[in-house]
Point group: C2
Chain length 529, copies 2
């Protein structure tokens, strides 16, 4: 039997114990297993990871911001140097297109994110210093002081990878070691990223367990990891089914949990748009639904329209769009099965299939582009089942009888990452927009106008988050620097601490020249200067 | 049988159902029941509270900031108008001294807090707007959009009351309705506060279920309240025993939980202080331990010193301080029992009682001022048991053999709200301070130098929070405006939203003149202006 690929524990690439369970990744385009073998780790390894990460935490706290920034930048450069290999393996393991997706979009997004994290570390912009000169109280955000566990999803092998992705960059930027449990769908890609990151740890002289990596864990070992006394918390991106079960145990043990779970990203199409630019909008909607074969957290799963002859014609146009093109390759064998199951739930809850509805039985893993329809009456009878996420190019059109019913549907929505409202440029829908916004605003993190939700800019003003169950806390974002770093900090207050003992971020003379809130005003000036 | 006092449900002072369980408060100074009778509410009432609060939430979201600020200020004025009654009843129900404590310290603290919340609402200072002009992304904090449940503690009948206290002010300032479960130790005080708040709701025309109030709930009804689909989350201040059990269920249901639990607030006394100003420092320490009869969340429960003949003499001096004065009145009958139980745990874990150790059997509820001692060796053998909180004037001196052992003790501490380090003014302890700070910083929210932790300034730079188990999330504070309001908000992102539809906080011309982060810089300027 061939040796399985090594895991990274405490700065060593080590073989899992002989006889451990193993797995291989599958090429989604051929349905054939790829040649490399990867180990499934166990609680014994979990204990080693925890011990090493706990030892690295105090060492990492003492590392200067400049040093951490250098590490993050080295990570980005090392990824660029290995781009060909990374893109080739990610394509083999995920079926995502090499170009433009992997090479020209996701890889640069990942390196940009790392470099923005480095910039935030230098600017200390996530530290949010608040100084009360009269009370001599000074507070800033600093490291949690303990390891963070990161679980990566299947759909972004680079940008959300538990190694080198946004959570990894955020947690380390804040000064915490990371224990990465990558997604088993793309283990070789993850291993290559871990090699890049490990080279950066070495070249920048960071503690050797600044990050560690395993490919797969049984459920119990994952629970043990996120509830361990050594860890401060965890970040999880993926399905509700996988992400929610450990949360109560982890929360009860006092661990922070940041979950980015499912979202159906409703699109409200008001009548004026259908009259004004219905076909154009239908094409835009289909384009967003089909992007990445519908496997984005921000992929639109449902649109809400108001019944009329024009709306009926618009739905016909949308049908044409869904029927006209072949579906993209899905990430795994389970993807078409999950889609079939979701479509079945939608049908059993009263939705009718207008286009598609079936998995492809040969060629790449795929599921027909699928459009369903349901009445507003029916949606309001079974709102939960009809919000079942279908992670692919599957879209449900909800036809309300009236604007009043459309509002009721908005009110019945679960928490989502995004919602979009399309209204006429003429202003014909403006009064209705106002009424809808009052409901929708509290259902989602990001509200869009006349724009599709796919495409999440890496900006500090981005909110890639939302009310439960789209995430576990509506006050935080998983994308955008420095905002996403704010998930992994503690507030550190200095009360009457002697001036020579203050960290530079809080010293009177503001030696770093950073933005600080002093007595209620934001300033870069020194105090008393 | 006399009617019990009414609860406040959906803007009505109503009697609980006939035959409901009731309770009376006890005067801690006489051990006699007070005459008024209060109802214990049940799940039927919980359902009414939830329905009314859920209906109030969208209405409250539409209320202008000016209007909410007016309400908070009316609350403060109404408290001042009823100050005599409030102080009289709080004294009867809690035994806390009328003056200065209740009338001159806690009552003004409460009104100041409400007025600072009003100021924050007008300045929108908790909204933290972030604008990326290139990407046309704009994000700010807004209401959670659903009710918040607040549980008040026994030790601050005004300032932390579930009606009118910091959590109440914060949650409403953010725009969320409050369901208040007050502490049953001071029901009449709470009722009077609720009358003040209800008058403010009426005079300022807020939705009638902006806040509601019950006195007591059985455990199951409390669980039902914090896990209900209608609520966004809850805030709890009190003991770990009462506060932790609902957390996993609430978290699993996606509810935010902000817990402020126990803390033993370690005091590190380095050798130079004992040499330089030992007696003075001992008096300061005893004063802090005895303040409020030791019933503060920031009361020092443990000090750590290094063995020496001078240290032995210092402990003798501390013994004198503890022995010289009579203990203060405790809040309830359970307080001396709990203290006896905690002292017993400490003794069973190897600590010896130097002074006191027993409850007072007559007169006001009280427990002898109690000083215990344990060796550093023994502390490190049973660190958890020896960190048992004793909520009263009970203090444990841990005598380390060396500075190295003192560091190990710091490393074995649980998360705390505060830690204090006393060092010589001469600079003799400075090298040791540096080593100690590296460990201690990550154990606590607020780090103090040469100052006792009791006395929590209501400042935006305050951090009244800390790592688990002192609180449930180290990134938030329960005291200080606008910071404490940040617990009860969601981030609301506007992506390509038409300019005329943006809230004023995010509009280009910055009509409110508020601080905003625009393209990475803090400014009050208009965009493009």
């Amino acid at each position: 039997m061939a040796n399985s690929n090594p895991i990274l524990v405490d700065g060593q690439w080590v073989q899992e114990r002989a006889g451990c369970d193993t797995f291989t990744a599958i090429n989604p385009r051929t349905r054939e297993p790829l040649p490399e073998v990867f180990p499934i780790s166990d609680e014994n390894t979990v204990n080693k990871l925890l011990a090493a990460a706990a030892a690295a935490a105090p060492a990492l706290r003492e590392v200067s911001p400049e040093h951490i920034a250098t590490f993050l930048e080295a990570c980005a450069s090392n990824i660029e140097a290995k781009a060909d290999d990374l893109v080739r393996w990610a394509n083999l393991e995920t079926g995502l297109p090499t170009e433009p997706r992997l090479r020209n979009v996701e890889l640069p997004r990942t390196t940009t994110q790392l470099r923005l994290a480095a910039k935030a570390v230098r600017a200390r912009s996530f530290c949010d210093p608040i100084i009360d000169t009269k009370a001599n109280l000074r507070t800033m955000s600093g490291p949690l002081g303990a390891p963070v566990v990161v679980f990566g999803p299947n759909n972004f092998p680079f940008a959300f990878n538990a190694v080198m992705g946004g959570d990894f960059a955020s947690a380390i930027a804040a000064g915490n070691p990371v224990i990465a449990k990558v997604h088993p769908g793309h283990p070789k890609t993850s291993q290559l990223l871990a090699e890049c990151a490990w080279a950066a740890v070495q070249s920048s002289g960071l503690p050797r367990a600044t990050f560690q990596m395993v490919y797969e864990l049984p459920k119990e070992a994952g629970f043990a990891l996120v509830t361990a006394h050594q860890v401060a918390g965890y970040a999880f991106t993926g399905s509700r089914r996988a992400g929610l079960p450990p949360k109560p145990a982890a929360d009860g043990a006092g661990k922070l949990s940041y979950l980015e779970l499912s979202s159906i990203n409703p699109i409200f199409v008001l009548p004026g748009v259908i009259a004004e630019r219905g076909n154009e909008m239908a094409a835009e909607l289909f384009g967003s639904c089909a992007m990445g074969a519908g496997q984005f957290c921000t992929s639109p799963g449902v649109c809400i329209v108001i019944h009329s002859p024009q709306t009926q014609a618009w739905i016909e146009e949308l049908k044409k769009q869904f029927a006209a093109s072949q579906p993209g390759t899905l990430l795994s064998a389970s993807a078409p099965n999950n889609l079939a199951s979701s479509v079945s739930v939608l049908q059993q809850s009263g939705a009718s299939v207008l286009v598609g509805g079936k998995p492809k039985t040969d060629g790449p893993y795929a599921f027909e582009n699928t459009l369903l329809q349901v009445s507003g009456d029916q949606f309001l009878k079974q709102p939960n089942a009809l919000q079942t996420e279908a992670f692919g190019t599957v879209h449900l059109v909800v036809v309300a009888w009236s604007f009043g019913q459309l509002l009721a549907i908005a009110g019945a929505l679960e928490g989502n990452l995004t919602a979009c409202v399309y209204t006429a440029k003429s202003g014909a829908d403006d009064a209705n927009y106002t009424a809808l916004e009052k409901v929708l605003r509290y259902k989602v993190g990001r509200l869009l106008n006349d724009k599709m939700p796919t495409g999440v800019a890496v900006s500090d003003a981005m909110q890639h988050g939302g009310p439960f169950p789209s995430t576990g806390h509506p006050g935080f974002t998983a994308v955008g620097m420095p905002s996403s770093i704010r998930r992994f900090v503690a507030r550190h207050c200095y009360d009457a601490v002697r001036p020579n003992r203050l960290p530079p971020e809080l010293a009177d003379d503001n030696p770093l020249g950073i933005w600080r809130n002093v007595d209620g005003e934001w300033t870069r000036a020194a105090i008393g200067g």
